[in-house]
């Protein structure tokens, strides 16, 4: 339940931020969405078993599922690189994140 609520909270924030005008907020929204995706992946492996998956355990009933962990690990790094690309997109191209300046221009 806690994981489900966390995922819901993250998606809530993500969608809200993505519907904003500024690229930076959209990017922050994507970061939250990435977190949400990761936690959903973890949930898919089950959250009732939480012991570290190391060595060759005898009793599997308490060991956390290593497969989603591996997925999430790479997902985090990929999300990081995507974040950087989006950040670069925010500063290249049109300088239209500056809503204050844009508004000023319109007034003039």
């Amino acid at each position: 339940m806690t994981v489900a609520i966390t995922a819901g909270l993250l998606v809530f924030g993500a969608v809200y931020l993505m519907m904003k005008r500024e690229m930076l907020r959209v990017i922050l929204g994507f970061i939250l969405l990435g977190h949400a995706g990761n936690i959903v992946l973890m949930a898919a492996g089950g959250t009732s078993r939480r012991d570290l998956p190391y060595g060759s355990p005898e009793d599997l009933s308490t060991i956390a599922d290593p497969l989603p962990q591996a997925f999430v690990l790479t997902a985090i790094v990929i999300a990081f690189s995507i974040t950087i690309v989006m950040l670069v997109l925010a500063v290249t191209g049109n300088d239209d994140d500056d809503t204050a300046a844009a508004a000023k221009e319109v007034q003039e």
């Binding site: 339940m1 609520i5 993250l10 809530f12 005008r21 922050l28 977190h35 060595g55 962990q69 790479t74």
Partner: protein, 984 residues
């Protein structure tokens, strides 16, 4: 043996750029040899098969070879050469070799011919694969490969060739799709991809509808490739290609692929009436249209293009008639056409090079003293016209005989023969026009001073003379072709066919038809000026090219309309679509699903609630943040919350990764902050309502979804396997890491590549477009912050000590990753953090010690990953980890793979610091002091070269007052620049 042929052709293609590099245009001499060698191999293999008596059901000898490729889906490199394949193999290789030799003199002595030879040999290899393929998938791939080769060969012929090349591509690719549909249907219907099995499959006689559908698809595919009505327009259009390309395209390659396909499937469809009707109708229309159109051309090459169209029309008609006699005619006419058409194209190229024109009207004012070219070209043209003693006569006689004996209602033979005879009359006329246009016209005989054109070198005309002479030799002794045509026609008819050609068949009906054709043709030639005047005013009402162009424009416009539905300046419009869709799906699911499995175990822990509260605070703070800095700081709060969450869930490695990524994300964001405004836009409260509703709905849907769909099963068998066998299989104790580098290394390699592409994207973006200018920090003069050197002293001292330790520590993490928390990703992120510290501690961007060849590192990383992958082949498969013993220690190539991961990740991090933190010189100059933060700084941002050009441009426009042509061209090349200039 067949595989050897194909490999020879492919190798020729691969080495051709290298050979061209050393030999220039003379590479053709060398490249012709392997093609001829492969032809000899093919013939000897076939002769062996004929001797040993290995034959298929129809009695044609056959050579087969099957190289398994994807055994699980029963796809293999199936090669099979029966008589039909042999005929086309010889055409492809021998004509290909002739054209290679010809190219050595046709091409400019200096210049880059690497791509030409590469594509031509590639074309030959693709055609060879096509005719030898016994697997439908291989056949389809080869078919598309010929399409691509022809596209690139046409497109490389200069700026004017772009549009024709695209039109050709569109038409032929459309045909490729039809073939793909046919291939798919056939594979599904018969359950095999093997062509030879499919052709004798009982499904064809059992299922009439299927047979008809596939017959139509195959016929249409072949029509696009062989330029048959209504897809004929691309062929003359593609005349922009250079002559060797046209010669190959028309004689042996591209268009013959369609003929081959039709002949190949003829045994199955010859009795299907749709097939007969389609082929005969389209063939005759094309034959007549092409022949008449050819007579109206001034450009010799264009004339030949229409002539090819017409000849192909006759061929398609023969295949459509489908009797053994007609197929025999098709095979011999294919050979005859390849010989005379390749020769004629090459001769036109010779004339073009020597006289610098191929326009009949200009050639009429010149004196072409080229006895060899004239004679041999006359022979080839006579063969095309069907004059006795030449191969063209033999093939045309065979064709007329087949048409006169055509099955069906009584009027069929009459109509088909009459149409073919009319087409032949025009063929006779345009053949004469070709030769007379080049050599006959003497508009002003009196002045013969300057415009005398002399014979070119023998190396230039040697190859086409060979082709033209072959037409004569085989025409006089046609029985030499008996065997080849017998096996070819047998394979294509699916039953035993005997071919006996002779110069004199007696007084048979077809002879009288031929004589009539020649008689009327001669009259047309004698009255050629009057004929031309009579025909000139009539033009074909619809241009096929316009149809293609209109279809293309409409498709693009339609794409624009569809794209317009999602395109909007406000990202929220399309970003909200998935969220709304999620809500809808969740609502539907809530209404329809009523039975869920029980939850397994206790998924929550009391401590979890602390994290939920922490995340909630972070998320709300992010939504509320007014300034960028605040938003970034609270993003960190959520990130660290996630880190603890992962720890709580027993995912140490994931938690460490998250922590490091969080730090680095903030570092990168800080680099960009100075280029962004400091505060967010203020939105009126009523504009919050819809976003809050959508976000709330999506959040709720997520929560319900996660609650309902997860935690309701035991561990998956895959995970159980990793847990129980992971250590035994890999010797690593860190199971997450073993999954990453041992079990699912291919996934990880894919991820590395994504990272690499991200790094390259950043570099490309920042090199192509300058980043927004930096904004002033608004620091007061007396502030202690003003001197970066002084106020970084502490962090610099610390960094001096810490940065090397961090980087060294990252190496340790890398090495131990297989056994304990660590591994390539984590180690690289730690290393990246070390570089981040080194960068942030530096008093200025320039002095930061992070300059490293980041793109090289990324490339090395991916290369190491792929290299380890290939190493895995030593033990059976790509990326399989090896466990060799080195000096008594158990080593693993998985560690090497992890080094690849490390390099790629650190490369991306370094790329962002180098590119964003230390922008290249052309980047914006920071504004010092408290001047207007939003002021545009374009002047200081443009690099030196464009500035100079701009100044010149400004000066010019100021001086002249109007734009000169050179000026406007300058602008056309640099649209962005011109905008800037105009803006001033």
């Amino acid at each position: 043996m067949l595989l050897t042929c194909l490999v020879i052709a492919l190798l020729t293609c691969f080495v051709s750029p290298l050979i061209t590099k050393f030999l220039g245009r003379n590479a053709g001499w060398v490249l012709a040899l392997p093609l001829l060698g492969a032809a000899v191999l093919a013939v000897s293999a076939f002769a062996d098969a004929a001797r040993s008596g290995s034959a298929d059901s129809s009695g044609s000898p056959v050579v087969q070879q099957w190289v398994p490729w994807m055994p699980t889906v029963d796809v293999g490199l199936g090669l099979r050469m029966d008589g039909l394949a042999l005929v086309f193999t010889l055409l492809v290789l021998v004509i290909g070799a002739l054209i290679m030799v010809y190219s050595t003199r046709y091409l400019e002595p200096v210049g880059k011919h690497g791509t030409f030879y590469l594509l031509m040999t590639g074309f030959a290899a693709a055609m060879l694969a096509l005719v030898l393929a016994d697997d439908l998938i291989v056949l389809y791939v080869a078919w598309e490969a010929t399409t691509l080769c022809s596209f690139f060969l046409i497109a490389r012929s200069g700026a004017g060739a772009r549009e024709p090349a695209i039109r050709t591509l569109l038409v032929t690719v459309a045909g490729g799709l039809l073939l793909l549909a046919a291939v798919t249907v056939m594979i599904i219907a018969t359950g095999t991809t093997r062509l030879s099995d499919i052709l004798v499959d009982p499904v064809w006689s059992a299922n009439g509808a299927l047979t008809t559908a596939v017959a139509v698809l195959i016929a249409m595919a072949a029509f696009t490739k062989s330029a048959q009505f209504p897809f004929q327009a691309w062929l003359p259009d593609s005349m922009v290609a250079i002559t060797p390309v046209s010669a190959y395209l028309h004689a042996a390659a591209m268009v013959k692929a369609g003929i081959y396909l039709l002949l190949r499937f003829s045994p199955v469809f010859a009795d299907v009436s749709v097939w007969n009707v389609m082929l005969v109708t389209a063939g005759l229309i094309t034959a007549l249209f092409g022949a008449i159109a050819a007579l109206r051309r001034y450009d010799l090459k264009e004339l030949l293009a229409y002539s090819t169209m017409s000849q192909l029309g006759l061929l398609v008609t023969m295949i459509g008639i489908g009797t053994p006699e007609a197929l025999k005619a098709a095979v011999i006419h294919t050979i005859a056409h390849a010989l005379f058409k390749s020769a004629l194209f090459m001769f036109v190229g010779v004339i073009d090079h020597s006289a610098h024109t191929r326009d009949v009207r200009e050639l009429a004012h010149m004196k072409l003293r080229m006895p060899v070219t004239a004679t041999a070209m006359g022979l080839a043209a006579a063969s095309m016209a069907g004059v006795p003693l030449l191969l063209g006569f033999v093939s045309k006689e065979t064709m007329l005989k087949a048409f006169l004996d055509a099955p069906g209602p009584a009027w069929v033979p009459w109509v088909v023969t009459a149409a073919a005879a009319v087409a032949s009359i025009f063929t006779f006329a345009y053949s004469a026009r070709l030769v007379l246009g080049a050599f006959g016209g003497r508009a002003d005989r009196s002045e013969d001073s300057d415009d005398v054109v002399r014979e070119a070198s023998p190396a230039f005309w040697g190859a086409p003379v060979l082709g033209a002479t072959a037409g004569l030799v085989l025409g006089v002794t046609p029985f030499l072709l008996d065997k080849l045509v017998t096996v070819g026609a047998t394979a294509s008819a699916g039953e035993e066919v005997e071919a006996h050609f002779a110069l004199w068949h007696g007084l048979v009906p077809e002879l009288f038809v031929s004589l009539t054709v020649i008689a009327i043709g001669t009259m047309l030639v004698l009255a050629r000026h009057r004929v031309h005047h009579a025909m000139a005013p009539y033009d074909f009402p619809i241009s096929g090219l316009d149809v293609v162009d209109t279809a293309r424009e409409q498709t693009i416009r339609f794409g624009g309309v569809v794209g317009g539905w999602t395109g909007s300046i406000a990202p929220r419009r399309h970003l909200s679509i998935p969220a709304v869709a999620l809500i809808v799906i969740a609502a539907l699911a809530a209404l329809t699903i009523d039975d869920l499995p029980a939850v397994v175990g206790e998924p929550s822990d009391p401590l979890d609630w602390v994290l939920v509260v922490l995340i909630a605070c972070g998320v709300v703070a992010m939504m509320q943040a007014k300034t960028l800095i605040a938003a970034i700081v609270v993003t960190g709060v959520v990130g660290f919350g996630m880190t603890v969450w992962f720890l709580q869930l027993g995912a140490t490695d994931v938690a460490i990764t998250q922590l490091l990524v969080e730090i680095l994300t903030v570092c990168v964001m800080v680099l960009l902050l100075r280029r962004l405004p400091t505060t967010f836009e203020k939105t009126p409260p009523r504009q919050h309502v819809i976003p809050l509703l959508v976000a709330g709905g999506a959040g709720l849907a997520t929560t319900v979804g996660v609650w309902a769909l997860t935690g309701r099963r035991e561990m998956s068998p895959a995970s159980e396997y990793f847990l129980t066998e992971g250590y035994n299989e890999t010797g690593g104790t860190n199971l997450v890491n073993t999954i990453l580098v041992d079990f699912r290394a291919l996934d990880t390699l894919g991820e590395l590549t994504v990272l690499g592409v991200a790094g390259i994207t950043i570099a490309a973006l920042l090199r192509a477009r300058k980043p927004s200018p930096e904004r002033s920090a608004n620091i007061q003069d007396h502030s202690p912050l003003i001197d970066a050197r002084d106020n970084t002293v502490f962090v610099r001292t610390a960094a001096k000590l810490m940065a090397p330790i961090i980087v060294a520590g990252s190496l340790i993490l890398l090495l131990r990753g297989h056994y304990e928390p660590g591994g390539g990703f984590i180690a690289a992120l730690v290393g990246g953090a070390g570089f981040a510290l080194a960068y942030l501690a530096a008093p200025s961007d320039r002095s930061a010690r992070v300059q490293m060849p980041y793109l090289l590192l990324i490339g090395l990383g991916v290369a190491v990953g792929v290299g380890t992958g290939f190493l895995g082949y030593l033990d059976g498969s790509f990326l399989r980890p090896l466990h060799p013993e080195v000096f008594g220690f158990q080593a693993t190539t998985a560690l090497v793979f992890d080094v690849g991961v490390y390099l790629a990740v650190i490369g991306v991090i370094l790329a962002s610091f180098n590119l964003l933190g230390r922008p290249p010189k052309r980047g914006g100059q920071p504004l010092v002091g408290g001047s207007d933060p939003g002021a545009p700084t374009h002047e200081s941002d443009v690099s030196d070269a464009p500035t100079d050009r701009e100044k010149r441009a400004e000066g010019e426009s100021a001086a002249s007052g109007s734009t000169s042509s050179e000026h406007s061209r300058d602008h056309a090349n640099n649209p962005e620049e011109s905008d800037e200039v105009n803006a001033r």
